[in-house]
């Protein structure tokens, strides 16, 4: 059996002296969708951020491809960053409000390759078609697009980096049912094409049951189990 893509061992995060969670173990295999459920305030969003080091965990290890992310320096971390991406609950705040959405989509790749954003988008034409964004929508500012459109734009931004793991924190809880189905369906298609793994954080067990291979529950400050979904 190949080693898991991501292996979280004994992760702990304190705010001040209060532990948010402790002793969290979690593995995610390549191409797998793992659900993470729990009440609001159970620390599931914080766990997602700690894995990506958007917040610094207090203790524990997070192995990605055998290397501990928490021990990496800034340089090494920036090398693996593109592999590990995140999608947020509030799509309307995921893009810089002062920049056209198209620029936001092109920015990561443009930064890495030094190409102009317009060129990058030409190269991403296929991905943009896949997520269903029109040219005129790319010139708009975030507040001019709907939540569903922004979430699809976010998928385009994230997938332009060809990530191996995407942590999606309540990606559809602010969206309508029909749009939710669209976004989740799109995530599924992208997974089939790229073999990406998802950690899907959601309070909606129905959604998790419908799309996840396994579901882990966060309760009493730790992850309890990961069942077959």
């Amino acid at each position: 059996m190949p080693p898991p893509l991501l292996n979280v061992v004994g992760l702990r995060k304190d705010y001040g002296h209060t532990p948010v969670f402790d002793d969290v173990d979690l593995t995610i295999d390549a191409g797998e969708t793992v659900g993470l459920s729990g009440k609001s305030g159970s620390g599931k969003s914080t766990l997602g951020r700690c894995i990506l080091r958007l917040e610094e965990p207090t203790a524990g290890e997070v192995y990605y491809n055998g290397a501990d992310l928490l021990k990496m320096g800034k340089k090494d971390l920036n090398l693996v960053r593109p592999d590990l991406q995140m999608i947020f609950q509030h799509p309307e705040t995921s893009f810089n409000p002062r920049m056209a959405v198209g620029f936001g989509i092109a920015e990561p790749l443009s930064y890495r390759t030094g190409t102009r954003p317009e060129e990058v988008l030409n190269g991403l034409a296929d991905l943009l078609r896949r997520v269903g964004l029109r040219r005129d929508q790319l010139d708009r500012f975030p507040h001019q697009l709907s939540g569903g459109e922004l979430q699809r734009a976010m998928l385009a931004r994230v997938f332009s980096l060809q990530p191996k793991l995407v942590i999606a924190d309540e990606p559809t809880s602010m969206l309508d049912v029909s749009v939710q189905a669209q976004v989740l369906g799109l995530m599924k298609t992208l997974q089939e094409e790229t073999g990406v793994s998802y950690l899907l954080i959601s309070h909606d067990l129905e959604v998790l049951g419908a799309v996840c291979d396994r579901v882990a529950y966060m309760r009493n400050g730790t992850v309890e189990k990961a069942d077959a979904g």
Binding site: K39, S146, S173, A181
Partner: protein, 312 residues
């Protein structure tokens, strides 16, 4: 006579990019004590309807049509008279309980203030507040009175805002997306709260939501909106069991329990509506005449109607 009767409501926002027709020829009615669900996706114009009932739309919105509340047309009465109806007869339950409570004011004071506004003295206002808190299943009203909003749980805050909205025992409560972004526990509590409002206060509720489960569990009748117009009206059980309009059918198929099947395509923009059926571009049953003739709402069973040519 119905409590609320909206007929031929048109709302247009003139913008630089043309007229945005947020609501086109919307007509429905709501009886005393009834819970009516207004469902549809964002951009379908459902929130605009709630706001136009209370005349809270921005001034540049062009509104036409009649909004009869107990026979009084809210669209034309003077602002002074409307102010008397707003809040007392018709209350709005805000979407975000956290943002609508004053974080620096004791919970009880926020409620008592409403009573004091109408001339009750502090003692009477306090007494009324405690009664209301009791009615909203706060076990320790006196204790909750002196706490501050951040010391309450999400569900408690929601009950508190509902308490403030219902402090005058309005006959109509407009709730706009009360469950958006809430987690499961708080959502369950919201549902209990609405049942309670319905049972104990007898308040009619206009529930504007995209949360189909919420609508299914609470509402007696459902109005389905698509691209600014009503596409289907019917008793909740029947609409969810056997949806008539292809859009409603598609919407229900998109629920996680029905397999998360997305509707193909996108809604038409409200500033560039197609001449024919607005759903035709995404509808499996659409034919040529669907794209040219705009369908009307017609009855399709007792108490049911839908806007689709293929049903008749």
């Amino acid at each position: 006579m119905s409590l609320l009767e909206v007929s031929g409501l048109n709302v247009t926002f003139p913008t630089q990019e043309g007229n945005v027709r947020a609501s086109s020829d919307v007509s429905f009615s709501l009886d005393e004590g009834e819970v009516l669900g207004l469902i549809g996706e964002s951009g379908s114009g459902k929130s605009v309807i709630g706001l136009s009932i209370l005349r809270l739309l921005p001034a540049y919105a062009e509104v036409s049509g009649r909004i009869l509340f107990r026979g009084i047309d809210l669209a034309v009465i003077p602002e002074k008279d409307l102010a008397r109806i707003r809040g007392r007869e018709i209350a709005l339950l805000p979407q975000n309980p956290v943002l609508s409570l004053n974080p620096l004011m004791q919970n009880g004071r926020q409620l008592a203030e409403v009573y004091e506004q109408t001339g009750d003295d502090r003692v009477v206002a306090r007494k009324k507040t405690l009664d209301l808190l009791q009615a909203f299943s706060f076990h320790d009203p006196a204790g909750v009175y002196t706490l501050y909003p951040h010391q309450l749980s999400g569900g408690m805050r929601q009950r508190l805002t509902a308490g403030i909205a219902l402090s005058y025992h309005p006959s109509l409560l407009i709730a706009d997306e009360p469950t958006r972004g809430l987690d499961r526990d708080v959502r369950e509590k919201t549902i209990d709260l609405f049942r309670k409002i319905e049972d104990e206060f007898g308040t009619a509720i206009l529930l504007i939501t995209h949360d189909l489960d919420l609508a299914e569990r609470l509402c007696s009748r459902i109005v389905v909106m698509y691209a600014g117009e009503i596409v289907e009206i019917g008793p909740a059980g029947e609409v969810f069991e056997d949806p008539a309009h292809p859009y409603t059918q598609g919407l229900l198929r998109a629920r996680p329990r029905n397999g998360l099947v997305p509707l193909p395509g996108m809604s038409p923009g409200l500033s560039a509506l197609p001449p024919g059926c607005r759903f035709a571009g995404r509808c499996g049953r659409a034919d040529v005449s669907c794209t040219t003739t705009h369908p009307t709402v017609s009855g399709c069973g007792p108490g049911r109607c839908a806007r689709c040519r293929h049903l008749f």
